[in-house]
Amino acid sequence: MKGFFDYIPGNTGLHKLNPVTKIMLSFIICIACFISKNPYFLLGIIGLNLLLGAYAGAFSRAVRLLKGLLKISVLLFLIQLLIIQSGEALIALPLHLSITDNGLRTAINLVLRLVGATIPLALMLSITRMNDLSNALVTRVHVPYKYAFTLTTAIRFIPVFTEEMAGIMEAQISRGVEFDTRNILKKMRLILPLCVPLLITSVKKADASAISAELRGFQLRTVKSCYKTYPFHVGDAAAFFFGACLIMGAVLLNLTNL
């Protein structure tokens, strides 16, 4: 997880898009995923995600995300497969269970949707500077600065806390707590007492952060304060057009029932 949300510098067309566009585009891709019932379309979206990642110089991170999602996908796939028993039975299993065509279709779609919908947002966040995001949300979408700042601060603190948690785990392993076990249930039980040090550090850091922001005039900030401007360009229009096409495509494919 280390460095997962770190900004990936670059000068590509995607980097240059307005931060609002980037966020909107990733939401649109998510929506398209949930509208579509067509596995080929969903696979296409996953491919598109990887392409966008490669274009923005974030291909390795996209692949890492994909790998990370794989475990949970397999788990969800199996659960869906066993829960949905309607439709034609394809393979009989013990305990009066069977794998059905309905189950298989729903499970595949669920997993593809999950993967297709998760990657875009993470990808867009890693090619957007947090200040640009909050400033653009404030000046363009008129989100109150307080909320925009809270959002971006939360994202900024993710790696800080991940590192803190890793440090806590190391410290606890070193005193004999068995985190290096392979047993996941045991690990979960051991992790609970660790929330205490993490919580205490978080509160301290949040307080330090608040004091520091206060002394740098955070409360005085208004919409007009923003030094940089965030105009929309042709590229942004193209991105929105592309997003609209995706949604239309998803709807049309559903209607034609391919």
Binding site: Y7, N131, I173, V196, P197, R216, Q219, L220, Y227
Partner: protein
Amino acid sequence: MIQIDNLSFQYQDDKNMALKDISLTIAKGDFIGIIGESGAGKSTLGYAINGIIPHHYKGDYYGRVTVAGLDTFEEEPSSLALHVGSVFQDIDSQMVATEVEDEIIFGLENFGVPKEEIEGRIELALKEIGISHLRHREINSLSGGQKQKVAIAAIVALSPKILLLDEPTGELDPKSSRQIFQMLQRLNKEHNMTIIIIEQKIMLLCEYAKKLIVMKQGQMLCQGDVLEVLKQSDKLEEAGINIPRVSTLCRKLKDLGLTKEEMCIHVDETEAMIRQDILSAGWSEPQGLVNGSVKNTAKVITDNTSENISDVMAAFRNVSFGYNSEMVVKDVSFTIQKGEFVALIGENGAGKSTLSKLFNGLHKPGSGTVLIDNMNTKEVKSSIMAKSVGFLFQNPDRQICQNTIAEEIAFGLRCTTKDETEIERRTSRIIDFFGFDRDAAPFSQSRGERQRIALASLIAVEPRLLILDEPTTGLDYRECMEMMEQIETLNKKGVTVIMICHDMEVVLDFAKRVIVLSEGRIVADGETRVIFRNREALQKASILPPQITELSQRLGDAFMYADTVDEMVQVLTAGKEGAR
């Protein structure tokens, strides 16, 4: 510039007064160091100046503070911020941006600096701090020292008249700490900026600050020019502050009537004083070497691989380790005998912490082998190794997770044994040894006390090897000494100690062997006193030797291995007598 009259303050929900009747005047262009034990009220005094008290932290407030003519009780901290810029110890919490430039723009935007002025201000601030080349860098890619410079630049861009810094070098290595001080000195000299810095590193304060304020338990013990304050050694001792060793030397020599010099802070002036007042006034190299015993014990450690294997605690054989493709520890080999006290030194990024994690298997060697107490770290889980290897981390808050000190100590024990009577017996013994209150909550203790609790819970397991990652960072002098004395006691009982440390005086006083790391490789390994005379190795690792060692080297061979104040006094007096 700043006027404090009879200021007292008590935090809400706190029994004790944090500040007691402080009166103080700070003039424009001052460079003031505030020093004292942890809990002495240093930070609270800082908060009173930037308005965090009484606006952010509430409590009972008596007296009056005015900054640039503004009453801090009436003004909001954000309007005071244009006069007083504040920088803190926790580097990451201060940052708001992804890129250096945006970090500096943030404050300028907030205070409504006209847009056409912003570009000029950014350039100027970066230039002042000497980090123009970092302007478009990602903050995440910077070192701790660089980040702290960015934080200072972001404040300097607001052009405050006063700069207030609360332990800005707390997380930095000696080299970066010195750079921060040099930069502050420049701001003070060239722009007449008033600098107020809360700091534990007395040596740096003595070298760069003009005035000192000494605090203890919420009170101001003394204040004044650095030299004047240093002369009041009894008060400094009371406040738990270690004065520079050359200052102690100077005082002792004066008491012996060997010099008339009142006070020295730097090695340069001490050397000049000794040469002029003592060496040129009838002195000859003492015959029969008073400190000969020191000379003889300081032998270079030879490779001891052939020695009896049962005496070996740790053996590293051609060990390399890296994160991803970048190697951090490169082909390192050494052997540590049972009962040794070894210090690992080197600058930040030299690989010290990484190397230390190879000792208990938190890192498994990429190539080569690590044998600890006859266990191969590749084959044994770290949580099992915890029975014989105790690891004290720099930040005790990552270790502490229970509600009372007794539970905290028992927690570690429970991981290694199931016998409750044995757990209770050992817990009680450790609590007595450290003198803790068993039902006190660990988290409400001071930093130094939390560090001792973390150490106590490790020792309860009775490890044979103790790894300490900067055990004295963030502690004041008294806490540091308490900590180190306890470790020394353990070492005398036969526990092998390996310590990462940035404080060369602590290394000199306690470690018998030093391993110097630079860029992942061992550049020197040997007896502490010998290593501190290996200029080449120290330079490679950007380490300055302790003051008295530096002095003895400059004075010549007659002073070989006179590394402590007492040894130096001994050689000087013996030579004086010899000349008679």
